[in-house]
C-alpha cells in the first residue's frame, strides 16, 4: 500500500514536471529575476482570456494588453484625454473629419516604426470584422485616410463631437505587418510572440500562474534613461483575500484589483503598505423601466428618488469611499459637472404626499399605496448594492411603495436586464469615458448601444441628444450636455446613488511613483503608470 501510494505521488510529480516546463525560461524566453533587473509583481484575480486587443476584453486582459498595445489617447488622473500615440487631434470639415497627428518616435518591439498605416489598419479591421465595442464607435465612419506616416484622417458621414476622444481612448493600435498575416481577425488568438509598442510588452504567459511583461526601451513617455521597473509580472490569485495576504507577505508588490472596503481599514494600519484612492468612471444607480405601469409617470419616479438616502448610503454602506451624484453625468467629468442641480431630498413622507397628490391612495389599508408594487433586480455579487437594495426597500415602504427584491447571481441578472424584465434596475455602470457616449447609449429611442435600460422613447430627449452630438464648438457642447443632464434629472429617469472611490494597495516600502487613473479598468496599472514607478532605496 505504501509503495503504491509513493508510486502514485511520484507519477503525479513526474506528470506535473511536464507542466513545469511552461514556466521554464527556455520555453518562454523569460528571466525575471536576475540581480540587475527590477521586477514589480502585481496580483490579479483572473487569467487572461483573450490576447487579441482588437476584441472586447475583460479587465485583466485590458491591464496587460493596454501596456503592450498603445492607444491614440490615454486618460490622465483627472479623467482628461491626453496624447499617447497621437501628439494632437482636431476636426476639419465642420466636424465631419477627425484628424490625428501621430508621434514619430513610437516603435514596435521588432524594430518597425509605428505609423499611420497601423492606425488605419486597426480601425479598418475592427470595422471589417465588427470587433468589440469599438465597432459601435465607428458607426459614422465612411473612410480612413493616411496621407503621410504621421497623419490619420477619419471621414465621417456626420459630425459626432466625442468621436476622436472615444476612438482615441478605446482603440488599441496593432502592428499591421503582423496582424495582416493572421487571416480572420475575429478568430485570431494572438497568444504568442507578441509585438507591441506600449510601455511593457507581454513576453510570456503561463495560464493559471503568471504573465511576464518586459519594459519597452523605446517607450517615449518613460523617464529619461528608461523605466526603472524592467519586468512586470502579473500573478493570478482568484481569491481576493489570498491576494491581500500575498501583498502583506511581500509575495506581490501591488494589487491590480481594488481592495474591498472591508479590508481597507486593516491595510491602513500597516506601515509597509500604501493606499491610493481613485474615482470610478461609472456610477451606481436605480434606473426605472418607463414602459411599466406607474413608472411612466415622472411623479412616481420622483417619489422613488425621494426614498433614497444617498448621504446615509455613502456614509454607512460605502464607508465614505464614494462621491455624491445628482444628475446622470458623473462629477468626475469636472467640465460637465452640473453644480446648479439640486438632488431630490430624502423624504419618504414627502414622497408619499407627492404620490397622494397624484391620485394614489391606500384603499385596502395595507400600508402600501394601491398599485405601487415594483420588482427591483440587482447583482447579488455586488455586496454594496445588495445592501442598498435592502435600505431602499425599507424606506420605500415608509412612502407607501412596495419593492420586491430580485437580487440574483450576475449572469442571471444580466439576462434579466438585457430582456428588460424588471421594474427597477439597481446596478452600476462600469466605464463611461465621456458623457456624450453615455447619453446616446442610454437615452436615445433607437437604443444604438443596447443599454437604454429605461426603454425611454422621448422625441424631445432624442432631439437634445442628437443636437449635442453634432456640436463641435466645445463651449456650446458642454452647455448642451448640461441641459440634457438637467432634463433627465427633472424627469427622474434614474436615481444616481454614488460614484465609488476605488482603493488600491501596494508595497510602499518597495515601490513609489505610480500615476493612477480613474476607474478599476485603469487604476494603478496602465502602461504609463508602471513606466513611472521607481523602487524605494
Amino acid at each position: 500500500m505504501k509503495f503504491g501510494a509513493a508510486a502514485v505521488a511520484a507519477a503525479m510529480l513526474a506528470l506535473t514536471g511536464c507542466a513545469l516546463n511552461e514556466g521554464e525560461p527556455s520555453a518562454t524566453g523569460s528571466s525575471t529575476d536576475s540581480a540587475q533587473e527590477v521586477t514589480l509583481r502585481i496580483g490579479t484575480t483572473t487569467d487572461v482570456s483573450n490576447y487579441n486587443p482588437l476584441q472586447s476584453l475583460s479587465k485583466t486582459d485590458n491591464w496587460l494588453l493596454n501596456a503592450t498595445y498603445p492607444q491614440l489617447l490615454r486618460l490622465d488622473e483627472n479623467a482628461e484625454k491626453v496624447p499617447e500615440l497621437a501628439s494632437d487631434y482636431y476636426y476639419e470639415d465642420e466636424g465631419r473629419t477627425a484628424v490625428f497627428e501621430l508621434r514619430d518616435d513610437f516603435m514596435w518591439s521588432d524594430g518597425t516604426p509605428v505609423t499611420a498605416a497601423d492606425v488605419k489598419f486597426s480601425a479598418e479591421a475592427i470595422m471589417q470584422y465588427q470587433l468589440g465595442n469599438v465597432a459601435a464607435k465607428l458607426t459614422w465612419l465612411e473612410s480612413i485616410e493616411a496621407p503621410d506616416e504621421t497623419t490619420v484622417k477619419f471621414h465621417l458621414s456626420q459630425a459626432y463631437a466625442p468621436f476622436a476622444e472615444g476612438l482615441g481612448f478605446w482603440m488599441r493600435i496593432v502592428p499591421a505587418h503582423i496582424f495582416a498575416e493572421a487571416g480572420d481577425l475575429s478568430e485570431f488568438a494572438n497568444d504568442s510572440d507578441w509585438v507591441g509598442s506600449g510601455a511593457y510588452i507581454l513576453e510570456s504567459a503561463t495560464p493559471g500562474q503568471r504573465y511576464v511583461l518586459r519594459a519597452n526601451e523605446h517607450y517615449p513617455y518613460a523617464p529619461e534613461g528608461g523605466a526603472a521597473v524592467d519586468v512586470v509580472e502579473y500573478v493570478v490569485y482568484p481569491d481576493i483575500n489570498t491576494m491581500i495576504l500575498a501583498l502583506r507577505n511581500g509575495d506581490i508588490d501591488l494589487m491590480a484589483n481594488p481592495v474591498p472596503a472591508s479590508a481597507v481599514g486593516s491595510l491602513k494600519s500597516e506601515d509597509k503598505i500604501g493606499l491610493e484612492k481613485v474615482a470610478s468612471l461609472g456610477f451606481a444607480h436605480v434606473t426605472y423601466n418607463v414602459t411599466r405601469e406607474h413608472l411612466d409617470k415622472p411623479e412616481v419616479r420622483q417619489a422613488l428618488s425621494m426614498v433614497v438616502d444617498t448621504d446615509s448610503i455613502i456614509t454607512t454602506i460605502m464607508q465614505g469611499d464614494a462621491q455624491e451624484m445628482v444628475g446622470p453625468i458623473s462629477p468626475i467629468f469636472g467640465e460637465f459637472d452640473n453644480t446648479g442641480l439640486d438632488a431630490y431630498p430624502y423624504d419618504p413622507a414627502g414622497a408619499r404626499a407627492l404620490l397622494e397628490d397624484n391620485g394614489y391612495a391606500d384603499a385596502d389599508k395595507d400600508g402600501f399605496l394601491d398599485g405601487l408594487a415594483f420588482q427591483m433586480v440587482c447583482d447579488q455579487s455586488n455586496a454594496n448594492l445588495t445592501r442598498v437594495a435592502e435600505v431602499m426597500r425599507e424606506s420605500a415602504g415608509e412612502a407607501g411603495i412596495r419593492i420586491d427584491l430580485a437580487c440574483t447571481e450576475r449572469n442571471t441578472f444580466l439576462a434579466a436586464t438585457k430582456a428588460y424584465d424588471y421594474d427597477l434596475d439597481l446596478s452600476q455602470w462600469g466605464v463611461f469615458d465621456n458623457p456624450m457616449d453615455q447619453l446616446r447609449s442610454t437615452y436615445l429611442s433607437s437604443n444604438p448601444g443596447g443599454i437604454n435600460y429605461n426603454q425611454v422613447q422621448d422625441p424631445e430627449l432624442d432631439a437634445l441628444v442628437n443636437d449635442a452630438a453634432a456640436t463641435v464648438d466645445r463651449d456650446a457642447f458642454v452647455k448642451k450636455i448640461k441641459a440634457i443632464d438637467a432634463y433627465v434629472h427633472e424627469q427622474a429617469l434614474l436615481t444616481p446613488l454614488y460614484v465609488e472611490d476605488f482603493t488600491f494597495a501596494y508595497r510602499s516600502d518597495r515601490f513609489t511613483g505610480f500615476a493612477p487613473s480613474p476607474s478599476d479598468l485603469l487604476g494603478m496599472v496602465t502602461g504609463y503608470s508602471l513606466s513611472q514607478v521607481t523602487p524605494v532605496n
Partner: protein
C-alpha cells in the same frame, strides 16, 4: 467474470454520456447569455447576433447537441469562446496540476486513514479509539474553504512557513523547482486530506471491528499467527474491500473540493479553470472540463471495481 467487466465498462460509458448530456443542457437552460459577457455596454443587436452565430448558439438546441456529440466522438472538445484556442489544449495544460493535487491528497488520505482505522479498531474503547473517533467526526464536519483559509492564514501569513498561493516559484530550476513544487503543494494538499481522512478512518474502523470478530481471525490467532500478522495480513485484506468503494466515491468529492482549494490557493488546475469558465459562461470550456472530470472519476471508480474484483473471490465467482 468477463461479463462483470463488460457490464462495468458499459455502465461507465453510459455514466459519461449522461454527464455530457446533462452538462450540455444544463448550461443552455441557464437564464444567461454568454454573448452578454463578452461586450458590456455598447453592443448592437447585430454584434450580438454575429457572436451567437460565431459560437454556434443560433442553431436549434438539438442540432447543437448532435454536432457537439459528433465532435466529441472525434476527440474534438471545441474552441473556447473567450480564449479562441482548442479546449483540449487548455485542459491538458491544467490537468497535471489537478492530478497532482487530487492524486496526492488521495494517496495521503489512504496512507493516514487506513492505519488510523486499524489502530482504532484494534484498540477498541481505549484512548486511541476515542481520539480517532473524535478526529474522524471532526474531519467529516470540516468545510474545505474554511480549512484552506485557516491554514493559509496560520502557516502562510502568520508563521511564514509556506507560500501564499501559487504552484511553484518560477525562479527555481531542477531539483530546487521540485522542492518548490512540494512546498507550494503542502497547504492545499493538507486542506483536502484533512477533510477526507475522517471518513476513511471511521469506515475502516467499523469494517475492521466486524472482521476481527470473524471465525477465521480467531482461527488465525489460535494457529499462533502474531497479532500484527493477523491484523495487517488477514483482517485488513477483508476489511478494506468496502473501503475500496468509498475510495472511488471520495475521488469525486476530492475533485469537487479541488475547485474550491485551487481557487483559494491560486493553484492552476482544472478546478480553478471551471471557476473562471463559469464566470465567463464559456460553454465549450465548461463542457470540456466536466467531460474530463467525469471521465477521471468514472475511470477511478472502474479501477476500484477491478481492484475489488481481483481481491474478492466472491465477485469473481
Amino acid at each position: 467474470m468477463l461479463s462483470y467487466v463488460a457490464k462495468k465498462v458499459a455502465r461507465a460509458v453510459i455514466t459519461i454520456w449522461m454527464a455530457v448530456t446533462i452538462t450540455f443542457f444544463l448550461l443552455r437552460i441557464l437564464p444567461a447569455d454568454p454573448t452578454l459577457l463578452v461586450v458590456e455596454g455598447d453592443m448592437t443587436p447585430e454584434m450580438q447576433a454575429a457572436l451567437r452565430e460565431q459560437y454556434g448558439l443560433d442553431k436549434p438546441l438539438l442540432v447543437q447537441y448532435g454536432l457537439y456529440l459528433g465532435e466529441l466522438l472525434r476527440g474534438n472538445l471545441g474552441v473556447s469562446f473567450r480564449q479562441l484556442v482548442p479546449v483540449l489544449d487548455i485542459l491538458l495544460s491544467r490537468l497535471p496540476w489537478t492530478l497532482l493535487l487530487a492524486g496526492s491528497a488521495f494517496a495521503l488520505t489512504v496512507l493516514i486513514g487506513i492505519p488510523l482505522g486499524v489502530y482504532a479498531a484494534v484498540g477498541r474503547g481505549k484512548l486511541v479509539d476515542k481520539v480517532v473517533q473524535f478526529l474522524g467526526v471532526t474531519s467529516n464536519a470540516l468545510f474545505v474553504p474554511s480549512v484552506a483559509i485557516l491554514l493559509l492564514v496560520v502557516f502562510g501569513a502568520q508563521l511564514g512557513w509556506f507560500p501564499i498561493g501559487g504552484a511553484i516559484d518560477p525562479r527555481t530550476r531542477g531539483a530546487e523547482a521540485y522542492a518548490s513544487l512540494l512546498h507550494h503543494l503542502a497547504l492545499p494538499l493538507l486542506s483536502l486530506a484533512l477533510v477526507q481522512v475522517g471518513p476513511y478512518a471511521l469506515t475502516l474502523r467499523t469494517n475492521m471491528l466486524e472482521v476481527l470478530g470473524e471465525d477465521y481471525i480467531k482461527s488465525a490467532r489460535s494457529r499462533g499467527f502474531t497479532p500484527r500478522r493477523t491484523v495487517w495480513r488477514h483482517a485488513l485484506r477483508n476489511a478494506i474491500l468496502p473501503a475500496l468503494t468509498l475510495m472511488g466515491l471520495q475521488l469525486g468529492t476530492l475533485i469537487g473540493g479541488a475547485v474550491l482549494t485551487e481557487t483559494i490557493f491560486a493553484y492552476p488546475g482544472v478546478g480553478r479553470l471551471i471557476y473562471e469558465a463559469v464566470q465567463q459562461l464559456d460553454y465549450p470550456l465548461l463542457q470540456g472540463a466536466f467531460v474530463l472530470l467525469a471521465i477521471t472519476v468514472v475511470a477511478a471508480n472502474l479501477i476500484t471495481d477491478m481492484v475489488a474484483l481481483a481481491l474478492n473471490p466472491r465477485i469473481r465467482s
